[in-house]
């Protein structure tokens, strides 16, 4: 063991004398620190936004409930904040949070338009993405490894020292093993120390920290072995670097881009805007078609209210909310096709990621951080569940003229409570299955 550390100690001191390696490691540390700080800042902003919205949401809703007294008006003027709070690992893997929405203020109106409204925003804005830790780890760290390891052998060959080193060293470990290990450990620390700092600030679970460390080490080992193996018998460092950079471009850019193009070609999906348009047209048309047509369509889904659909005046809230629901029902096939396509794309992206280690790592870590498309799908489903509970809460008051007083309002569904219940149910299912 003493011999082992002696070799590491010698190579550590030797590395400290090599300026270009020190510059490279410093750059690595700075880039990693920047990505962590950028992630922390982004998550902090998201949390602040949510806190601000939460406070405003309660005040707004209470004001609406005080101002209006009939259930239809209360439902119409009350917004309900729904949100997907960032996990304590999200700072490291922002994932899809800059593409999929993580907050919606919804009303009891037709839901599809409210969900897919943001889909019609300029998607180009989301293209640039954010420089987070996972991006640095998956896309940039291979390049840093290539720079650090491509000339491990070649530089010694071109300078004429290789044979002298090999014949002098007591063992291969003493030379290449210790030298490679020190470079690897240094790079790993420069990348991971900022992450650990961020994890400490964010209160990240130890298990998540361990898992990120595990996957990071596996990933960096993969690139290190590739770089060392590629350069082992080569005599020209630039040639080794060119080959490795070619592989990096292939894995980090070409395969993901081709994969994305292929998946989009294979899986056809309606646009979010089409869903919004279909739903809005159905809602707008409802003003002009016979009320019975709307009510019949509503009753088909909610037969329990069939004895309460008769109207005594031209406008009644129950009809208004019925055609909102019918608008959603009309857009439902498109909405389902959109979600099915999104799930299919996610599955195919999983297959594509098997050909691209950077993509695979991003997928694993964003899943761990709950910032991937799956998390977005789950959030969307939570909104749908909440919207349904909200409707089911209001329908008795709308269809049977029950009084909606403070006592009843206190039992109104809350998105936060719903997600807590769902989480508890999920945990309980996990416990039972174990």
């Amino acid at each position: 063991m003493n011999y082992f550390f002696q070799q590491l100690n010698r190579e550590w001191r030797f590395m400290l004398r090599q300026k270009y390696i020190l510059i490279l490691l410093t750059c690595t540390f700075l880039i990693s620190s920047f990505s962590v700080l950028s992630g922390l800042n982004e998550i902090s902003q998201q949390q602040q936004t949510l806190e601000r919205l939460k406070a405003a949401d309660t005040v707004d809703r209470e004001a609406a409930q005080k101002k209006h007294h009939d259930p239809g008006s209360i439902a119409y003027y009350s917004f309900h904040l729904t949100s997907s709070a960032p996990s304590n690992l999200a700072f490291a893997a922002l994932g899809e949070r800059d593409i999929y929405p993580w907050k919606h203020r919804i009303k009891m109106l037709a839901l599809e338009g409210q969900i897919y409204e943001s889909d019609t925003q300029n998607a180009e804005l989301a293209q640039a993405g954010k420089i987070d830790f996972v991006f640095v780890l998956s896309a940039l760290s291979p390049l840093l490894i290539i720079l650090l390891f491509h000339d491990l052998y070649a530089s010694e060959r071109t300078s004429g020292r290789h044979d002298l080193l090999v014949t002098t060293a007591k063992s291969s470990w003493a030379l290449w093993g210790a030298r490679g290990a020190i470079r690897f450990i240094s790079l790993l620390l420069c990348l991971m120390v900022p992450f650990y700092f961020g994890a400490w600030l964010s209160g990240t679970n130890l298990s998540n920290v361990v898992m990120v460390s595990f996957w990071s080490v596996i990933y960096l080992i993969f690139w290190t072995i590739l770089s060392v193996y590629w350069g082992k018998n080569a005599s020209s460092a630039p040639r080794v670097a060119s080959g490795l950079i070619g592989i990096w471009v292939l894995f980090a850019f070409i395969i993901p881009i081709l994969g994305d193009l292929t998946i989009n070609k294979l899986v056809h999906s309606p646009e979010g805007g089409d869903i919004v348009l279909t739903q809005r047209e159905a809602v707008n048309d409802a003003w002009d078609i016979p009320k019975e047509t709307t009510m019949d369509a509503f009753i088909a889904s909610y037969p329990e209210w069939k004895d309460h659909v008769a109207m005594e005046s031209e406008f009644e809230w129950k009809w208004y909310y019925a055609f909102q629901q019918v608008g959603d029902q009309t857009a439902a096939p498109l909405s389902q096709a959109y979600r099915d396509a999104a799930h299919k794309k996610y599955q195919l992206a999983g297959i594509a990621s098997l050909l691209s280690p950077p993509l695979l790592l991003q997928r694993v870590l964003t899943r761990l951080a709950n910032t991937d498309a799956v998390a977005a799908f789950q959030y969307e489903q939570q909104i749908r569940d909440f919207h349904e509970r909200l409707r089911l809460f209001y329908y008795p008051f709308l269809f049977t003229q029950q009084k909606l007083g403070e006592t009843q309002l206190a039992t109104m569904p809350s998105f936060e409570k719903l997600t807590q219940i769902q989480k508890a149910e999920l945990n309980s299912n996990i416990d039972t299955s174990q």
Partner: protein, 245 residues
């Protein structure tokens, strides 16, 4: 020509054949170097000198025949062989961002050998490396000074066998004289030295025996008579007979 007595042979190549990328480089090469002897393998470009040296260091695998050091097959006892040999490459490029002392310390540590500063200074004294140069970065060194540092390292390794690859190539005449003297001094203390060179005059100045290598074959051997040197003209004449041996 020389009679062959292998009883004292420290280095021995026996019908050695080496091919690289399907090209036959060494063809039935046989020679031996005795303890305390200075043996020069002399040959022109492409004769197979460096291949012979690299095979002795275990970088090439013989396609047939054998090469042994202290009776052990090189490729089967690589660590043993490398522990017994001190190799001096043609261009002794040590780390230019380190001083001579730091270079020596680094390489000794690689070999897991511990030496005191006094012992290192003694080695530097022995190769006549100026005291004020020892703690200077080697990027300021001449080739002769780098060569001296590498020899100091070889001395400190206390290896009984020195393998020298074109050791005087690029040195000025004064440096060559100093080097030759150093080599003779090493041999006088019991070191066995095998050097490959294309310098006929230099080889005759320092070697006890010379093997003439041509197209991977040993085409002649010359030995010095007692208390005299090998006849340069005779070796030169043989060296110049390209393709006729």
């Amino acid at each position: 020509m020389v009679t062959t007595d292998l009883s004292n042979a420290l280095i021995k190549a026996d019908s050695l054949c080496v091919s690289i990328k399907n090209k036959s480089i060494l063809k039935n090469l046989s020679f031996h170097v005795d303890t305390g002897e200075i043996y020069a393998l002399l040959g022109g470009n492409g004769a197979g000198k460096s291949t012979t040296l690299k095979t002795l260091l275990g970088f090439n695998t013989p396609s047939s025949g054998s090469v042994t050091i202290e009776g052990k097959e090189v490729n089967q006892a690589l660590n043993f062989v490398r522990g017994k040999t001190a190799y001096l490459p043609e261009s002794a490029t040590l780390y230019s961002h380190l001083t001579a002392r730091e270079n020596v310390n680094y390489f000794l540590s690689l070999a897991d050998i511990k030496k005191t500063d006094d012992e290192i200074n003694q080695a530097f004294d022995r190769v006549a490396l100026q005291a004020d140069a020892r703690d200077r970065h080697m990027q300021t060194y001449s080739k002769g000074m780098r060569q001296k540092t590498a020899i100091a390292l070889a001395i400190l390794r206390e290896a009984p066998i020195f393998l020298l690859d074109e050791p005087t190539s690029g040195l000025d005449p004064v440096a060559i004289d100093e080097f030759n003297q150093l080599v003779r001094e090493l041999a006088s203390t019991g070191a066995t030295i095998l050097m490959v060179t294309h310098d006929v005059y230099g080889a005759c100045q320092v070697a006890n025996r010379i093997g003439l290598l041509r197209d991977g074959e040993l085409v002649g051997e010359f030995a010095a008579a007692e208390n005299s040197r090998i006849d340069t003209e005779q070796v030169h004449a043989a060296f110049a007979q390209r393709g006729t041996a």
